[in-house]
């Protein structure tokens, strides 16, 4: 994009600046729109599974429901509890929202369509997603109220626990791809299964890793059945209890942006990102732009997320901890050893 702005007669520095700014807006604004629509989709899927109609009043098929909700929330009064730690109380939702947007900088939407094509792409995503917990913890503490505080404690413990196994799963994928650049990782998946299918998903050693990654991403984004941070039967509304108006909306937007990010990571790491699923040129298969494939995959994973939300009852907190530390951690550690052994044996030679 820098070249395009240079052709308009700008110097390189200005062209780079304008191009980066345009790239940021080109990702952030559609992302906001996507979040609005994905909340609608979530409610529709959930309703369909519960044999209800879901939102169907505002706009055709209720499509504008999220915007109506957003507008309503925007017009409400922002209430700050008098005993709250005012500065931190307001910083909490801002942190959640900002961090949820930050990680999208390295997500590749096509071979060239990535804002920051950096070498440590995956590590950047891991670093940013580990920051997400601060928004919740700060909000829970600054509210100066029991239930938000319990919720913050739970969120901190839960996210740290599942980040450990997510880290090991990512190491397995990095070992196979031999790079941490997200675009190169997608390229490494081209024709991974007998030159026919694109994606690490079809690898027998990585398939169990994907299942664990999917479950861990549910836990990492605190979606059902791991939504113990906002378990309404125990904690009122969790860390959001004292929030109202826009500060509440920022939590929602951030949460769903995080969910979308995790869906995108599932697609990129295990299902070949912007590559078509099959490496065979059946129909004008490769002429379909990459971002359409990526969006289709993201939506598929989001459907799985909603499906799980609608059908699975909530975990108990000790079950959640047990799953993270006693099941996922040893399993993923075992697979790191297995996969590195297998790669040593097949790819790098035993003598090395």
């Amino acid at each position: 994009m820098t070249a395009f702005f240079q052709s308009l007669g700008m110097t390189y520095e200005w062209a780079w600046f304008v191009a980066t700014l345009a790239g940021v807006l080109l990702i952030a604004l559609p992302l906001m729109l996507a979040v609005a629509m994905i909340i609608y989709a979530d409610r529709k899927i959930w309703a369909a599974i519960a044999l209800r109609r879901g939102p169907n009043v505002v706009g055709p098929f209720g499509l504008l429901q999220s915007f109506a909700d957003g507008l309503k929330v925007f017009l409400q009064e922002t209430i700050i509890p008098s005993a709250a730690n005012k500065g931190l109380f307001l910083i909490g939702p801002i942190v959640t929202f900002t961090v949820a947007l930050l990680a999208w900088a390295v997500i590749p939407f096509g071979p060239e369509a990535v804002l920051a094509d950096i070498n440590i792409g995956l590590l950047y995503v891991l670093a940013i997603s580990s920051l997400g917990v601060y928004g919740v913890v700060i909000a829970g503490w600054a509210s100066n109220s029991k239930y938000p505080f319990f919720s913050a404690m739970r969120a901190a413990a839960q996210m740290i626990s599942y980040e450990v196994s997510i880290g090991f799963i990512l190491i397995c994928v990095i070992l196979y791809a031999g790079t941490t650049n997200l675009n190169d990782m997608i390229e490494a998946q081209r024709g991974h299964g007998f030159g026919l299918v694109n994606g690490f998903f079809f690898n027998l050693l990585l398939f169990p890793m994907w299942i664990m990654f999917l479950i861990s991403s549910l836990a990492e984004t605190a979606r059902a059945p791991f939504d113990l941070t906002e378990a309404e039967s125990e904690l009122v509304a969790g860390y959001q209890t004292e929030y109202s108006s826009m500060s509440f909306a920022l939590f929602w937007l951030g949460e769903y942006a995080n969910v979308l990010l995790m869906c995108a990571l599932n697609a990129i790491l295990f299902f070949g990102g912007w590559l078509p699923p099959l490496n065979v040129d059946l129909i004008p298969w490769f002429d379909i732009p990459g971002w359409i494939w990526l969006f289709a995959k993201i939506f598929l994973f989001f459907f799985i997320f909603s499906w799980v939300k609608a059908t699975v009852p909530r975990f108990r907190y000790d079950q959640l901890m047990r799953l993270g530390w006693k099941v996922f951690l040893p399993l993923s550690l075992l697979f790191v050893v297995l996969i590195s052994g297998w790669l040593m044996f097949t790819r790098y030679g035993v003598a090395a």
Binding site: L88, L123, A127, V137, I160, R322
Partner: protein, 207 residues
């Protein structure tokens, strides 16, 4: 130009947040300022081209260590009067440490003024690392040249971890309150947990 600006921005923020870390009255604010300092330190690492170290700094320190700090500090019940009561008692020790630090600063600046030390000419063994990415060169150094030290460090950490677990682990007797048999819980089926009764009208249910 941009590098210089970014350097001064990050450096200023690191020092400012470090100052606020020790000046803040509330320990939670202290930890949050510390996190900001970590973050800007990562920014400084990126400026010198060590992006892998920067990512690690954020993942390990900001993402894990500081969260645990915050986790503990949030639960503290802070009594400010008690905090100030220790001031007079610890004053001499504080002064002593400040004097030592001051002496180190003076010595350090004096040594810097005296000129560079002769370290010899580099023999070129580190040169081939230059054209590789951060991760590759770090891997080559850690798993090649310093393999023994690296693995020893790993072993020490493992022993420390096992020690911590042994110190805090308490074996629960079987059948004690709170003891859970996960396999038994998972094997449980609806027909052994619930019972369907169809009582006639006017009669109660016998349990």
């Amino acid at each position: 130009m941009i590098q210089t600006l970014a350097f001064y921005l990050f450096a200023f923020l690191v020092i400012a947040s470090a100052v606020f870390t020790i000046m803040a009255r509330n320990p939670v604010h202290s930890v949050l300022w510390l996190i900001l300092a970590f973050f800007n330190a990562a920014g400084l690492m990126i400026i010198v081209g060590a992006e892998f170290i920067a990512a690690l700094l954020v993942i390990v320190y900001v993402g894990a260590v500081a969260v645990l700090f915050l986790f503990v500090v949030m639960m503290l019940d802070i009594d400010f009067a008690e905090l100030r009561a220790g001031f007079v008692k610890n004053f001499p020790l504080g002064i002593a440490i400040a004097l030592v630090l001051l002496a180190e600063l003076v010595l350090g600046i004096g040594a810097y003024r005296a000129g560079a030390i002769e370290l010899g000419v580099p023999d070129g063994s580190a040169a081939p690392l230059m054209d590789r990415t951060n991760i590759e060169s770090l891997g080559a150094v850690l798993y090649g040249e310093y393999l023994f030290l690296f693995e020893t460090a790993g072993l020490i950490l493992l022993v420390a971890m096992v020690g911590a677990i042994v110190l805090t682990h308490r074996e629960q007797p079987k059948g004690a309150r709170g003891h859970q048999n996960i396999g038994k819980q998972n094997r449980r089926r609806p027909d052994e947990a619930t019972e369907m009764k169809r009582p006639e009208v006017g009669k109660g249910v016998e349990l």
